[in-house]
């Protein structure tokens, strides 16, 4: 009989380990992954495999350099989750080396250099995405179009996707076209109504495929909320802020702005709201803080989409709000039992 001396509590909630949380988030991306594959071909799947392999290898490599137990940390699935989110965000035709660069950068520089899981101030996936978007804007903004609208007339086959990713497909242009957001951004002085009728990327077929993608992510996100892995605060406040911004500006100037529905159903709106912005490590902690944080992201997304240099702004909006997260945390501490008011700031600051 060996008796253990352990601090209380002696019992723990069964099953809900960090690795389980990560697995569930990965599983919740399945609807989105399937819809993307169905609509845009196998490129996303191939990217996924490349990304996962890269993530595991680079994580193991850096853990070895840091002399940390490799198996223990790989088993938490956090590197895989980063890889999956990046693979979903990258265009299906993106060259393999770009995926590798993005994933390796996010795992090594955005996460491990800061001390590994739990210590990264920025969302690793979005750091990798933003680095590639800034460095290689052309491949990062090419996206497969809806099959009715593109020259090829059908989604790329598996071999074509593979060939596109490894740079051996000369006819890649026949599959790609501007995304709705990209197209809307470059409507060049056209009225909104004119743009929607004339520009290829804004045809209803393309819009509906993007809508399906977003609906799929919404479903996955709702499942996460139902599993209590994430709370509703961040995604709802982010989507609400985006919708309100879009609504306000649409009401002011309907001829130049797009509808709130357009903004909510295109680009990475839902992926960002439920999977990117809710990354717990780099976001705010208290429920009130999450509301501010999500709203900030929503507003920034609209700002970047409308007046920025890039068609979509989820990555930049999330990174910018990551900067602000500690500040928000300081000022949104919950009220502790027995205290009349919630405390603010840090000790030694404003007491």
């Amino acid at each position: 009989m060996a008796l253990l001396r352990i601090t209380s509590p002696h019992t723990h909630r069964a099953g809900r380990r960090t690795s389980w949380v990560m697995q569930m988030v990965i599983l919740a991306t399945l609807p989105g992954l399937l819809v993307q594959t169905w609509l845009f071909g196998y490129g996303t799947l191939i990217n996924l495999f490349i990304a996962c392999a890269t993530a595991l290898i680079s994580e193991a490599f850096i853990l070895k350099l840091r002399r940390r137990p490799i198996g223990f940390f790989l088993a938490d699935y956090s590197a895989l989750l980063t890889a999956v989110l990046l693979a979903l965000a990258l265009p299906p035709t993106v060259p393999w080396w770009l995926t590798v660069t993005a994933v390796a950068f996010s795992v090594i520089f955005a996460k491990q250099v800061y001390g590994g899981l739990g210590n990264n101030p920025f969302n690793p996936a979005m750091v990798g995405y933003a680095i590639c978007l800034v460095s290689f804007p052309v491949p990062m903004t090419q996206w497969i179009g809806a099959s009715e609208l593109i020259q090829a007339g059908a989604t790329p086959t598996f071999s074509d996707s593979l060939a596109a990713i490894f740079g051996t497909l000369p006819t890649v242009d026949s599959y790609t076209m501007a995304t709705p957001l990209d197209a809307f951004k470059h409507k060049d002085g056209l009225m909104s109504s004119e743009a929607f009728s004339s520009i290829l990327g804004l045809q209803s077929a393309n819009l509906s495929s993007w809508m399906w993608v977003n609906v799929a992510y919404l479903l996955g996100g709702l499942a996460l909320i139902w599993l209590r892995i994430i709370t509703w605060h961040t995604p709802i406040s982010m989507l609400a802020a985006l919708a309100v911004m879009a609504g306000v500006f649409y009401a002011i100037d309907p001829s130049n702005a797009a509808t709130p529905v357009f903004h909510l159903t295109t680009g990475a709106a839902m992926l960002g709201a439920f999977f990117i912005a809710t990354d717990p490590v780099s976001s705010c902690t208290s429920n009130r803080g999450k509301l501010f944080y999500g709203a900030g992201i929503g507003i920034l997304i609209y700002v970047i989409r409308s007046w920025g240099g890039y068609p979509d702004g989820v990555a930049f909006a999330v990174l910018l709000m990551n900067f602000a997260a500690p500040l928000i945390d300081y000022y949104t501490q919950p009220r502790t039992y027995g205290h009349k008011k919630a405390k603010k700031g840090l000790a030694g600051g404003d007491k």
Binding site: L3, S8, H12, T18, V281, T285, T336, Y337, H339
Partner: protein, 938 residues
């Protein structure tokens, strides 16, 4: 009966309840264990003070420990029996450390003490009832063990709006309160009503979780029957709704302000167990000696609730509930959420033990390794105190205590909800506990260092003030000195006269300062030398040794200078100072040599084979001897000095005494070493040597005191009485030592070493007594001699009176000796012979004193006629006294040898020694007799 409103609190968790298994069996009552272990600190606050001694018999319900201050409690014997021990035992504490416990060996009769209930509790003042509860040892039985009377007293601070009875029992597994409500419903309700009366509460609510339908039903039925105003609030099952603060929030929607008590917002909370205990105390006079405890967990074959006596070892309960030892992996006292693990089942049940959870590995698997915090926020959702556990973890980990406090670390109730939900298996509560303890420690040490600083500064200020005062006095003296000649002599000469001593003084001062510096340097050097020796840096040792020697040379030179400086001054007071300075120097040498010797010996103990060290030790011993000799010589000179060297003399005596103490401490050390290493001949030799040294020192001391006595004869009574006092102190010291050893001996009668020590101490005691007796004699003589020849009649009567007192003292000594003898006989000590001798001697002494008194009264008549004869008589008596001491010593030697011979009957050497010692003793005795005769003839 209206249903009270139930509110909610933030957070909380729903762990599996696991309450059914311990409710299958009825309430059990284990038989008496073999011993009951009652820790003195079963409650919050100061540990109780034991009222009983080991071996005394107690009855069931008898108070065995009393409260120790305001926040403390009584403790009672849970059964009748004898106090087996009061000692450190492992107690129920997460640390697994031991604490003082009273251990009772039950006699099996379970005989109650006569109980005195407080029948008229409604009429007597409430303070008296509270005091009664305190005397019955009632403390909060929910978890913390807060003394109930203190809590009830606190409730009078504010008018009570709510009196809440905590029956929530939210922790999984535990059903003790559930069982208590079922078994003692009436007692509970009556107890609540008593407390309600005590605290003047109108609104009484029992808070109970909805997972105890049977208990709720019986409560409600009884309340209906009695038409009581007590309300039952059924709260939804959620951990930790039984936490005091959480229950208050649940039932009143009020929050206890941070750092305050419920009483501060007019709320009082009591556990059901406490109510029942209070009822039984008041109604039947029963103190708190048992409690309901749940025995549960997969390792038990028969999990159940038991009513168990406090102090019952948990191992006894494990056996009672049929523990399957193979399955036991974790033994928890309390529930799985807030209980603590026990290292050993030997720990006893205390007043706050509500559950013993003997869990299998399957039930409570060992915690998974800690993973990184991903700030998922599940802990925040679960925290019932509304904290940000993940931020607190961050600050606790990085020791940012200020920030942790800012994030309200001290509002954490350590309920464990955060750790329960943490997906990364982080032991959050342990981090918080550690951080809290660190913060508390830091606060305490800050307070302590503040106090130290204040005291240091106060001391500095005091020293400065003293120095300033001295300086002022010196200046005043100087002024007075210079003023006198100025007054007498013509003014011209005054300025000449003044500077001369000033210059001399300056010189002396400078020399003194130099000396002090040199000494400090020497000390430092010696320290580094010692260090070097410890680290075995040979080169350094040599270099340092040279330096030390040089410095010592410097010092002696400087000392000479210092000694010379005052000599050179025109005032001729110098010689005694110079003498004492020299003596001091000699003393310093002795001390140095002895300290060196000690150090070397210490090293030698560590490394007995080191020849070099042995040589060194021998060298140091030689040094010590020469230094001692010098000192002795100086002492002799001091004696011979023409000045009336009483101070020097008494200093000498003091020195001798210090030497004696040194020698005895050395001796003791060696003996201690010897005890560890009995066969070490070298050590034995050393011990013998030290003994010799000690004896020498003692002799010297005796001689000194003799001298001082003779000096004192002429002038000084106080010195005499000083010596006398000293001797008395020695006797007392020897006595205490002896007693101590005897006590040890009682514990360990087989220890021959201790026996030896006892004998030795007895000898020391005897010697000291002899010395005392010896001192008494001259003191009488001196007293006789002092008052000159003038007021003869007065003096004589004075002397007579003194003599009488002395005789009384001597008689007391005789009695004492006889008593000691009787004791020795009962103890069958080997020392009977010597004690008998002692008695005889003391009697002789008393007789001689009586004789002296007769003589004194005779001589009183002759004294005025011839003072010269008187002087001679004094001298003679002095001699006589010396002779007595010598005889006593010789006798002691004989005794010692005899004893050794007893131990080693075949030792020829010893026999020879004994014979010679006996001879010596006889010779001395003869001399003594002769002297006594001469004196009597005179």
């Amino acid at each position: 009966m209206q249903t009270p409103a139930v509110y909610s609190f933030h957070g909380g968790i729903h762990p599996p309840e696991n309450k059914a298994q311990s409710l299958n069996l009825p309430l059990g009552s284990p038989r008496l264990p073999d011993e009951l272990i009652l820790p003195l600190g079963q409650h919050i606050g100061q540990p109780s003070r034991p009222l009983v001694e080991v071996g005394s018999r107690v009855l069931k319900g008898e108070a065995i420990a009393i409260n120790n201050g305001f926040l403390s409690s009584f403790l009672h014997a849970p059964t009748s029996g004898t106090i087996h021990a009061i000692e450190k035992r492992v107690v129920a504490h997460p640390s697994g450390l031991s604490d003082t416990c009273i251990v009772i060996q039950p006699d099996g009769n379970d005989q109650w003490i006569e109980l005195e209930p407080l029948d008229n509790w409604q009429d007597v003042s409430k303070t008296d009832v509270l005091a009664f509860l305190a005397e019955k040892g009632i403390v909060g039985m929910g978890g913390a063990g807060f003394p109930t009377q203190v809590k009830l007293q606190g409730a009078h601070k504010h008018p009570l709006t709510h009196f809440i009875i905590n029956a929530a029992e939210c922790e999984p597994y535990i059903t003790a309160d559930d069982m208590l409500i079922r078994e003692k419903t009436l007692e509970l309700i009556l107890g609540i009503e008593m407390l309600q009366h005590l605290v003047n509460a109108d609104n009484v609510v029992i808070g109970i979780e909805d997972n105890k339908p049977t208990a709720i039903a019986s409560l409600q039925q009884l309340i209906r029957e009695r038409q009581s105003s007590i309300q039952v609030a059924v709260v939804p099952t959620k951990y930790p709704s039984g936490g005091e603060k959480q229950l208050i929030k649940l039932l009143t929607d009020k929050e206890v302000p941070s750092g305050q008590y419920p009483a501060d917002i007019g709320i009082l909370c009591q556990n059901v167990g406490t109510c029942v205990a209070a009822y039984e105390a008041i109604q039947y006079g029963r103190p708190l000696i048992s409690r309901f405890t749940t025995l549960t967990g997969d390792a038990f074959k028969a999990p159940q609730n038991v009513e168990v006596l406090l102090g019952t070892p948990i191992s006894h309960l494990l056996k009672y509930a049929d523990l399957n030892e193979k399955h036991l992996s974790r033994l928890v006292m309390g529930g799985p959420m807030m209980g603590f693990t026990l290292d050993t089942p030997e720990a006893p049940v205390v007043k706050t033990t509500n559950c013993i959870l003997a869990a299998s590995t399957k039930e409570l698997p060992p915690p998974a390794p800690e993973q990184a915090c991903i700030r998922c926020g599940m802990c925040e959702q679960a925290c019932p105190a509304g904290l940000l556990p993940q931020q607190l973890l961050w600050f606790s980990k990085s020791q940012e205590h200020e920030k942790a406090e800012h994030y309200n670390l001290f509002d954490c109730i350590e309920c464990g909800a955060c750790s329960y939900v943490c997906p990364s298996s982080i032991p959050l509560v342990q981090y918080y506990r550690h951080a809290k303890a660190e913060i508390r420690d830091a606060r305490e040490s800050a307070v302590k260092s503040d106090i130290a600083k204040q005291r240091f500064e106060a001391r500095k200020a005091r020293q400065e003030a003293e120095a300033a005062e001295k300086e002022a006095k010196r200046l005043a003296r100087q002024n007075a000195a210079s003023a006198k000649p100025a007054a007498k002599k013509p003014t011209k000469e005054a300025p000449k006269a003044a500077p001369e001593p000033a210059v001399a003084n300056d010189d002396a001062k400078k020399a003194k300062i130099d000396l002090a510096i040199a000494k400090a340097k020497l000390k430092k050097l010696e320290k580094s030398l010692l260090e070097a020796q410890e680290k075995e840096h040979t080169e350094e040792i040599n270099a340092l040794q040279i330096q030390v020697d040089e410095t010592q040379k410097d010092i002696s030179e400087l000392e000479r200078k210092v000694a010379a400086a005052p000599n050179a001054t025109p005032t001729k007071k110098a010689s005694p100072t110079g003498m004492s300075d020299e003596a001091k120097k000699a003393k310093v040498d002795v001390a140095l040599a002895s300290s060196k010797l000690k150090k070397v010996q210490k090293q030698l103990v560590d490394d007995p084979d080191n020849q070099e060290l042995k040589d060194k030790a021998a060298g140091f011993e030689a040094d010590l001897k020469t230094a001692q000799a010098l000192l002795d010589k100086l002492g002799g000179e001091a004696k011979a000095a023409p000045s009336k060297a009483k101070t020097a003399l008494s200093e000498d005596a003091k020195k001798a005494k210090v030497d004696m103490a040194l020698a005895s401490s050395k001796l003791k050390k060696v003996q201690k070493q010897l005890a560890e290493d009995c066969d070490n001949d070298e050590l034995k030799a050393k011990a013998a040597e030290f003994e010799k040294a000690l004896k020498e020192a003692e002799m010297r001391f005796a001689a000194c005191s003799g001298e001082s006595a003779s000096a004192a004869q002429k002038s000084d009574k106080p010195v005499m009485s000083d010596e006398y006092k000293k001797a008395k102190v020695d006797v007392a010291l020897a006595n205490t030592k002896l007693k101590k050893v005897q006590k040890q001996l009682a514990e360990d009668p087989q220890n021959t070493e201790l026996q030896g020590k006892t004998v030795e101490f007895k000898k020391v005691l005897k010697e000291a007594e002899a010395r005392l007796a010896a001192l008494e004699a001259p003191s009488l003589q001196s007293k006789e001699a002092t008052p000159a020849v003038k007021n003869t009649v007065d003096t004589n009567s004075d002397a007579q009176r003194k003599l009488k007192i002395d005789i009384a003292i001597a008689n007391a000594a005789v009695k004492k000796a006889e008593k000691a003898l009787a004791k020795a006989q009962t103890l069958q000590s080997e020392d009977i012979d010597s004690l008998e001798q002692q008695v005889a001697k003391a009697k002789a002494h008393a007789q001689s004193l009586e004789q002296t008194m007769k003589n004194g009264s005779q001589s009183a008549n002759t004294a005025p006629l011839d003072s010269v004869t008187d002087d001679k008589a004094a001298e003679h008596k002095e001699q006589l006294k010396k002779q007595k001491v010598t005889t006593a010593l010789a006798k002691a030697q004989v005794n010692k040898l005899k004893r050794q011979l007893d131990a080693e009957p075949n030792s020829e050497q010893l026999q020879k020694d004994l014979a010679s010692a006996e001879q010596a003793h006889q010779a001395e005795a003869a001399k003594l007799e002769q002297l006594t005769n001469t004196q009597e003839n005179r």
